[in-house]
Each structure stands twice: as structure tokens, then as C-alpha cells.
């Protein structure tokens, strides 16, 4: 299959392979400092131990103290050595090269692995700088393809200029520009101010759920301190709950703030460029055509400030720990978020969507929030919105809908209602038209299946399979 592709995207069709790509000739190694960077976190720990150990001794506090530290130090040292050793093997055995239409990575000491990534299947390319690598001026290149986490390729570590050049080359080739293209120019769209980010993270955590969790313990503690409480055990439990919730909160705040720090969105011909991070930084490039679904979301307590965030589904970005990868914009004025959402969808105006509401009897199924459900669609995109206190607008282009589902529980069927779900790849966006009239939902399902079919056909006509090489 790959062999058959090669002639199509061969260098012969390009202006000439004369100017070698900035990444150099084929068969590259990772950077020499890789082992150190891979063992970096633990090495840092060891260094910290050593420093504190000498400090202790320096101040002459106690010999016992350093005696207690020693076993931990030894363990950390051994772990660091092992990690560095593993890193060395990884460095020794890994080679990558960019060939005609694909990126090839050979790795493994005992079990050799050759991974090939077809560049026309590329979903996004990220340059990540974990703290340990950043110290050495290194960067990780992560290439996401459609599929699971396992099918993404990580090159750890390259020096920063090499990583950036390789990213430019991969994206250029993926867009059919041929090798040796310089990084496309970009137009900055927005930089999130630090103050706004911190405030938004705090306000987002201040949800009704948190209020419910905290209201009991707070009452107990307050009544105990004011002298009216007479349940020492209950007070103890309440304090424990408070402290643990606060610890979790602090951790979450710290993590979100540092990952989303100085969030920058820029626009370039090869896609949206996203940069963020305080200690570990990340630089993602998402081609616009790879956005599977998008949503503009306003948590409850953001609404007085008129803020909104924009999140996307991209194939290959799994959920869980990589959740920040799906963030397109952590906080911005709502108008801007709507504008960006429309822009990603290909220049639609979210304000102009005509929303249709579920029938009145849906109030029996969803008493308060049925009124705020709404769906709309146009030539290219299906929209859905929901939320009474928080507001969410979700959208998926017709050609990106995977499958369409109709669901109705017993109560909904008794009311003659049904919900329509448009499946997308894994991510925060789940588009659904809830509590519609059953017949209408069925009609919407058929219409959507038909629209998706037409959109797919159009897309297939517009973009012939295989990498396109511009003359």
C-alpha cells in the first residue's frame, strides 16, 4: 500500500528535491541529551535531595536527618539511572526519516518497530516542551493520526529548531506543498491575559456541585466554631472533607492555570496554531479540516462576565489526561468565541442560526431546561444548544458526522418524544437534539443521514484520495 503511494507523492513531481529540507538528509537520530531529559524529573529530585542534604549538614541541624534522607536518595538515584539508561537505549535505537508521503520511525532494541505515518492522514502536529526537556533546550514532537493514542507518534527529544523545522515540513507536505517549505506565516488572533485566565479558572470551579459538596461541612464547622455545635466527631469529618476538597481544588487550579498559561491562538494557512503553558509548554497546529466538532461553552458563573470557552474534537486526541489538547480557547468574550467557532466551521455566523425548540410537552420530561434546548442546521453544519444556567452551543459539519442515533426511553416514548445524537470522535463535544417530537426526530435523522451523505460525496469530489502535489 505504501509502496504504491510512493510514486504518487514522489519527489519527481515537486519543484525538485534540490533544497534539502531543513531537517537534513534521511535517517535522523534524536538529540544527544535525550537520556538526560527523559530521566530529568527524577534527576531533579536527586539534585534537590542533595542540595537539601548539604543544607542540613551546613546548618548542622542533625546527622540523623541526613541519615533518614539517604535511602530515599539511593532509590531515587537508581530510578534516575534506570530512566537515563532506558533513555539512552531509546536514543541509540531510534531513527526517523521523512520519505515521500510518510514519516517513518524505527525504534526498539530487542523488538524492532517500524512505524509509518501517512502524511495525508495526519491530524495534528504538536511541539511539547516538558519542563525537564525545556531545561536542556529540547522539545518533543507529537504527531497525532486518526485512531487511538497508540497510533500517535512521539519523537522524544529533538532540539527545538529541528522540531520546529520538522513540524513545518510535515504540515507542509501534509497540505501538499512538497518538501522544503518554510513555516507558513501566521496571524495572531488572541492572547489570553493572565488575570482573565486565573479568574476564569476560579469561577469555573465555583459550580453548583461544589456548593452542594461544601455547604454541609461549612455549616458544621461554622456552628462548631461559634460554640453551638456539640458533635466533635461530625466536626472532625467536616474538617477532613473541607481540607481534602480544598487540596483537590488547589491542585486543579494549579494544573489548569499552568497548562493554559499565556494561551495564544494564531491563524496560518496550514491551520490554527495554539501555544500555551507556563512550566511545560505546548505548541499545537490543528489543520482546520481536521476539526471534527466544536463547541462554545459558558459555565454558569462566567455568564455575568460574558466569557466563553471554545473546545474541539480532533481525531487522535483522546480524552483524559490530554484534555487540554481539545481546548481551542480557554476564555474570551463570548462574541469572540462565537466568531472563532464560526470561523473554524468555515465562516458561519452563529448569531444567524435559526433555532427550533422542542415541543411543549417536553416540559414533562425535562421540566426546566427543555425551553433552552434548540437545534438548527444549514447547508454545511448542524447546531445544537442547551443549558439553563450554563450555556453551550455545539456544532458538527455534516461531512464529519460519523453515525446518527435515535434514542427514546419509556417515559419519552409515552410522551411521543425522542432524542437525536450525532456521533463524533472522542472529545468534549457531543452534539444532540434532545426531546424532539418522535416523528420530527425521525425526519431529522433521515435528513441528516442524507445531508451527511451529500457532504461526504462533495468532500470526496473536491479532494481526490492520496497526497496532492501542487505543481
Amino acid at each position: 500500500m505504501t509502496a504504491a503511494d510512493r510514486p504518487v507523492a514522489g519527489d519527481g513531481a515537486t519543484p525538485g528535491p534540490g533544497g534539502p529540507p531543513t531537517a537534513g538528509p534521511p535517517g535522523h537520530r534524536l538529540h544527544r541529551l535525550t537520556p538526560l531529559a527523559l530521566g530529568g524529573n527524577v534527576l531533579g529530585l536527586v539534585a534537590a535531595f542533595l542540595v537539601f542534604g548539604t543544607l542540613d549538614r551546613g546548618t548542622g541541624s542533625s546527622g540523623q536527618m541526613s541519615g533518614g534522607v539517604a535511602p530515599g536518595l539511593i532509590v531515587a538515584g537508581v530510578v534516575a539511572l534506570l530512566l537515563v539508561g532506558r533513555g539512552f537505549i531509546a536514543w541509540w535505537t531510534t531513527e526517523y526519516r521523512v520519505e515521500a508521503g510518510e514519516l517513518r520511525v524505527d525504534s526498539g532494541l530487542l523488538q524492532r518497530r517500524a512505524k509509518r505515518v501517512r502524511l495525508d492522514r495526519l491530524q495534528s502536529v504538536d511541539v511539547l516542551k516538558p519542563l525537564a526537556a525545556r531545561v536542556f533546550g529540547l522539545a518533543e514532537l507529537r504527531i497525532a493520526t486518526a485512531g487511538t493514542e497508540r497510533s500517535s507518534v512521539r519523537l522524544r527529544y529533538l532540539s527545538l529548531p529541528v522540531a520546529e523545522a520538522l513540524r513545518a515540513e510535515l504540515l507542509g507536505r501534509s497540505a501538499g506543498l512538497g518538501p522544503g517549505v518554510a513555516e507558513a506565516p501566521e496571524r495572531p488572533l488572541v492572547v489570553v491575559p493572565h488575570g482573565t485566565l486565573v479568574a476564569s479558572v476560579l469561577l469555573q470551579l465555583l459550580s453548583w456541585r461544589l456548593v452542594f459538596v461544601l455547604v454541609g461541612p461549612v455549616i458544621i464547622v461554622v456552628s462548631a466554631t461559634s460554640g453551638t455545635g456539640h458533635h466533635p466527631a461530625a466536626t472532625g469529618v467536616a474538617v477532613a472533607v473541607l481540607v481534602s476538597v480544598l487540596i483537590v481544588l488547589a491542585r486543579t487550579i494549579w494544573r489548569r492555570t499552568t497548562t493554559l498559561w499565556s494561551f495564544t491562538v494564531a491563524e496560518s494557512p496550514d491551520g490554527l496554531r495554539i501555544r500555551h503553558g507556563l512550566l511545560s509548554t505546548s505548541h499545537q497546529t490543528v489543520p482546520l479540516g481536521r476539526v471534527q466538532a466544536i463547541r462554545a461553552h459558558q459555565p454558569t458563573f462566567w455568564r455575568p462576565f460574558g466569557w466563553a470557552m471554545v473546545q474541539i474534537n480532533v481525531a487522535g486526541y483522546a480524552g483524559g489526561r490530554e484534555a487540554h489538547n481539545t481546548m481551542l480557547l480557554p476564555v474570551a468574550p463570548r462574541e469572540f468565541a462565537d466568531w472563532l467557532t464560526g470561523r473554524v466551521l468555515g465562516g458561519v455566523d452563529l448569531g444567524a442560526v435559526s433555532w427550533s425548540a422542542p415541543p411543549h410537552r417536553a416540559a414533562l420530561r425535562a421540566p426546566l431546561w427543555w425551553r433552552h434546548q434548540g437545534v438548527g442546521s444549514d447547508e454545511h453544519v448542524f447546531y445544537a444548544r442547551h443549558g439553563v444556567l450554563s450555556r453551550t452551543v455545539e456544532a458538527v459539519p455534516h461531512e464529519r458526522t460519523q453515525s446518527v442515533r435515535l434514542k427514546a426511553g419509556p417515559w419519552e416514548r409515552a410522551l411521543g418524544l425522542a432524542s437525536l445524537h450525532l456521533d463524533s470522535t472522542r472529545g468534549p463535544v457531543r452534539v444532540a437534539a434532545r426531546f424532539r417530537d418522535a416523528a420530527e426526530a425521525r425526519a431529522m435523522l433521515d435528513a441528516q443521514a442524507e445531508r451527511a451523505r451529500r457532504a461526504r460525496r462533495r468532500a470526496a469530489d473536491a479532494r481526490p484520495p492520496g497526497p496532492v502535489v501542487s505543481p
Binding site: 492522514r121 491530524q123 486518526a146 481536521r290 471534527q292 481525531a315 461531512e399 464529519r400 460519523q402 453515525s403 446518527v404 442515533r405 435515535l406 434514542k407 427514546a408 426511553g409 419509556p410 416514548r413 425522542a418 445524537h421 456521533d423 463524533s424 470522535t425 472522542r426 457531543r430 435523522l445 443521514a449 451527511a452 451523505r453 461526504r456 468532500a459 470526496a460 479532494r463 484520495p465
Partner: protein, 141 residues
Amino acid sequence: MRRAILAVVLLPAAGGAAAGVALTGGAPGWSVLLGAVVIGSAWAWYLVGRNWRSWAYTERQDDLLVVHGAMFRKLVVVPYGRMQLVDVEAGPVERLFDLVTVKLHTAAATTDARVCGLGPSDATALRDRLTALGEAHAAGL
């Protein structure tokens, strides 16, 4: 098949309740329990039948349509071009009754398209047709 599972689960329950009635000489608590179990199993028997009848699938020109569920009705439309892979599975109980399940996967994890309770030959035929159609309609992501 589900009726068989149901019988396996419910018979001991009914037996236990009946034993309770017999041992206590017809204490009202046990009698009520026995009645509940009997009524419950009759209802479940009926539901399982309805549920079984509710499974259906159609191969349309561009997509596969699967309907199932008596209480919770679900209808899934999977375009052939969106299918990433087709699984043919058989669990231990299914193997006992010589049945298999054909499962369709798309790039979306939420797609829940299964065709249950097919005979092995039907299932392989369906799988082959689906993969052929999937290749013919293949659209990227």
C-alpha cells in the same frame, strides 16, 4: 437466549421463595415474595420476547440501519463510508447457542451499532458484505 439466562437467574429465586413458603407454613411475607417473583418473571419473560423481536437491521443503499430495544428504543444509522472496522464476536453463552454478534465501529466511540443473535454463516456473510461496501464508500475522516 436471554430467556435461557433469565430462567437460570429466576428459577433459584422462585425456588427459594417457594421453599420459604413451604417451611414457614405459608407465612404472608414469603407468599408475597413468591407472588412477586412469579409476576416479575412473567413480565420479564414477556419483555425479553419483545426485546428479542425488536432487533432488526436493514442494509440500505448508503448506510446500515439497526433498530433495537423494547423499553429503550434505539436506532442507529451507520454510513458504510464511516465504518472503520467490523467485528464478529461470540461470548461463551452465545457460543453455547451457536450465535454471533456483528459489531460496527466508526471513529466515534459512542457509535453503538450491533447486530445480535445471527447464525455464524449469516454473520460472516454480513461482515463480508459490509467490508466490501465500506471499501467502496470509503471516505476519510
